[in-house]
């Protein structure tokens, strides 16, 4: 029984933190926010070269052949640094689907592309109604050369900088996932509150793809990609919460009111204690879920859903109360807190909110 990281895992965290401290500063995030594309090519290259996109991809497919624990370590760090790059959308949203797709040439191409960083892939799942796990309108039909897809996807994260889209569409009485070249679709970015992670509308007006581009069916996938996605977002939330906690503790030690550091007032210090409690709890959940997914334990889904809930609570509470602890200055645009607040809100509302995931937890615990 051991809840410790290996030396390699610790080293991975340490080096990630160092790289991010230099390359993913709030100033960089602000530049990306203000830019037209919301994308920093050179930053992406750094990530790609470090192999971060391939952490959970087998060595045979060009990845590092590590697992979800290592993936969570990295994402916790990128969350801590509010990394302004389409990293979570690639490894958190798209990769789980690709990894669990049917083995074959297309899957390999996608995995190798992701692993090398040369291919950015976005998951085009939700539609106008914003529902995550609901019936879809987009539909594919078998055609002579493969499949023709008709539909409109909305809220697709980082679609505007993706090379490939994983389009989920109805097919007969199931659903299926198609790898669609982004260039074949019409992508319109939407004004997103976290401008470093933009959402887009994607129109598919009778796009035809080859049969090999059908990479998975709903029946074979089930909830398994969702477990991994939930885990990755929870890891990011943990990193966000950790960072704003640190900022707040620092501020509470330095800032004085009524002649004393504000951290000496229980109204502040107890808030910070609660932030710590939620952040540490989220972290514990995240790494247990990562381990459970790597090991394929029977409670992996429950662990992932629990991590998601704990992550939302930590991210939401920590970023909101960090602003409160900082007072007026924390509400300014110049202060970095709002970058974290926006990221936490994105993480909270994207891919099912706390209510959705508590219901998932309830379903699993009530079944036993």
């Amino acid at each position: 029984m051991d809840f410790g990281f290996t030396e390699e895992q610790e080293l991975l965290r340490k080096s990630a933190r160092e790289v991010l401290a230099e390359r993913s500063t709030p100033a960089v995030a602000r530049a990306v926010m203000e830019s037209e594309t919301g994308f920093d090519e050179s930053l992406w290259k750094t990530i790609a070269e470090l192999g971060w996109c391939g952490v959970a991809i087998p060595e045979a497919e060009g990845g590092l052949g590590l697992g979800w624990v290592e993936q969570a370590v990295l994402v916790e760090e990128t969350g801590r640094a509010v990394l302004p790059a389409p990293y979570l959308s690639t490894v958190g949203l798209a990769l789980p689907v690709v990894l669990l797709a049917e083995p074959g040439e297309m899957r390999s191409r996608l995995l190798q592309g992701i692993a090398s960083g040369e291919m950015r892939v976005a998951l085009a799942l939700t539609e106008e109604d914003g529902e995550w796990f609901a019936p879809l309108k987009a539909a594919a039909t078998k055609s002579v050369n493969g499949y023709t897809i008709e539909g409109r996807k909305v809220f697709v994260a980082d679609a505007h900088v993706a090379h490939e889209l994983l389009v989920v569409a109805r097919l007969d009485d199931d659903f299926a996932v198609f790898a669609v070249p982004a260039a074949d679709t019409a992508i319109t970015p939407l004004p997103t509150l976290d401008r470093t992670r933009r959402l887009s509308e994607v129109r598919l007006d009778g796009v035809t793809v080859g049969s090999e581009r059908l990479i998975a069916s709903g029946k074979s996938l089930g909830w398994r990609p969702a477990d991994r996605t939930a885990l990755v977002i929870a890891a990011e939330q943990t990193g966000v919460a950790q960072r704003v906690l640190e900022m707040s503790v620092q501020y509470a030690k330095e800032r004085e009111q009524f002649g004393k550091p504000i951290g000496s007032f229980q109204a502040i210090s107890h808030k910070l204690a609660d932030m710590l409690l939620l952040t540490e709890s989220a972290r514990s959940h995240v790494y247990y879920a990562a381990w459970a997914i790597d090991e394929g334990t029977p409670d992996a889904s429950l662990a992932a859903a629990s991590a998601r809930v704990a992550g939302i609570e930590a991210g939401r509470f920590a970023t909101a109360e960090a602003i409160q602890v900082h007072g007026g200055i924390g509400f300014t645009y110049e202060h970095d807190l709002h970058l974290f607040y926006r990221r936490a809100k994105w993480d909270e509302l994207y891919y099912g909110d706390a209510t959705v995931w508590r219901e998932r937890v309830a379903e699993l615990i009530a079944a036993t």
């Binding site: 609901a134 004004p191 976290d194 009111q257 007072g327 007026g328 509400f331 509302l349 209510t355």
Partner: protein, 393 residues
């Protein structure tokens, strides 16, 4: 006990409502932000209010006010919120500077300033908060040193609404650095066009700039521009702060009712898991709880009003309103984003409910528990002044 308007109250309410309906700018939008594009409209509106006799509603008639009763002021603020009329540009002048000058000013000062406050010819701002002081107003460090016929003011103020367009500023400055914290402060009336005054907009996390920073560098203020005595500014500032709330609680409660109504409307048209969000039992619980809290604000306000009218002393209920409002409004903002799912992440788009209005409201609400008294300070005040608990220091 009677929650209905008396005949006179009803008549007054009708007057207000009719006048606002007939006169408010078309396409008016409620909200506090005085953005550049809106200043012209707000100046015109301020003038119109004055001409209609609605500026300085509660001021004594001898100073150009209407001499309205407290309850008339409440009715006005309720109707004003209901009409979604745009903000009153000279709110600091009419609500804070004016009443303080009436209470503590010399005849010359009253003569010099009051008319132009009501007409909106001169706009005022308030220079109390400082970057290092925050909730601890007594820790202010802006200095005013006597030099001949003037004070020389140096220092920095922050969170100043309207500073970018204001002509005058009510400013607290330290005139005796050796005196204890709350002594040695003076209350100055500063011409914002004086050399050495610099105003910089302070952008908020919403992206807007409602507030400013003000920098004072060797600003020369004539000695006559002091309100009350030298080093007696703290006492005078209390008059200003007493007026800060005014009938704000009523306006907030009415506004909250309106916003909750809009939230319910959105919940009816937004689908969640295939059916209107308003049918989701969890959403219903949260909306109901918010209704109960908002009504509590309204009713607490009424109780406070009755206590004041009967005894002349405000009851404990009034001080609770701001605290309740801040916390409720934050929760409403959170709920409304959740209802929308990922559409709650869009700052404006046909996919977002009410074109992203709720995203703005949600962001803006994060400041509610900080501005005009943090929730922590309000709880201190309730504990110490209402419950009589010992000071937390």
């Amino acid at each position: 006990m009677d929650f209905r308007d008396t005949a006179a109250e009803a008549a007054f309410r009708k007057d207000v409502r009719d006048w606002l309906e007939a006169n408010k700018p078309s396409g008016a939008v409620a909200g506090l932000g005085v953005t550049e594009g809106r200043v012209g409209m707000l100046r015109t509106w301020q003038r119109k209010l004055h001409e209609g006799g609605w500026a300085g509603l509660g001021w004594p008639k001898e100073y150009g006010g209407r001499g309205a009763s407290l309850i008339e002021q409440v009715i006005f603020s309720q109707e004003y919120a209901r009409a979604k009329a745009p903000s009153i540009l000279n709110v600091i002048g009419i609500g804070m500077a004016g009443p303080t000058i009436i209470a503590h000013g010399t005849d010359e000062q009253k003569h010099r300033y009051l008319d132009k406050i009501l007409s909106g010819e001169e706009i005022w701002c308030q220079g109390f908060s400082e970057p290092g002081a925050g909730s601890d107003l007594g820790a202010l460090r802006t200095s005013a040193v006597v030099e001949g016929d003037s004070f020389i003011v140096n220092g920095q103020k922050v969170w100043t609404t309207l500073a970018h367009i204001a002509d005058w500023c009510i400013l607290l400055a330290r005139t005796d650095p050796t005196a204890p914290k709350h002594k040695g402060i003076s209350y100055l009336l500063v011409d914002m066009h004086s050399p050495g005054v610099e105003v910089r907009p302070l952008r908020q996390m919403t992206g807007e700039a409602e507030f400013n920073e003000m920098f004072f560098t060797d600003v020369r203020v004539p000695r006559d521009n002091i309100l009350g005595d030298v080093n007696d500014g703290w006492r005078i500032a209390m008059t200003t702060l007493l007026h800060e709330r005014g009938t704000l609680g009523f306006a907030l409660a009415t506004q909250a009712e309106i916003v909750l109504g809009e939230a319910i409307a959105l919940a009816k048209k937004t689908l969640k898991a295939g059916r209107p969000a308003i049918e989701d039992p969890l959403v219903r619980q949260r909306l109901a709880q918010l209704h109960v809290e908002i009504q509590a604000m309204r009713l607490n306000n009424y109780r406070a009003l009755t206590t004041v009218m009967r005894t002349g002393i405000p009851g404990p209920e009034g001080s609770l309103g701001k605290l309740l409002w801040s916390e409720s409004n934050k929760r409403l903002g959170e709920l409304m984003l959740e209802i929308q799912g990922p559409a709650g992440l869009l700052e404006g788009s046909g996919y977002a409910g009410d074109n992203g209005e709720w995203v703005y409201r949600h962001f803006r609400s994060r400041a509610n528990s900080i501005e005009a008294g943090t929730s922590e300070i309000l709880r201190n005040i309730i504990a110490e002044r209402v419950l009589g608990l010992p000071k937390h220091k």
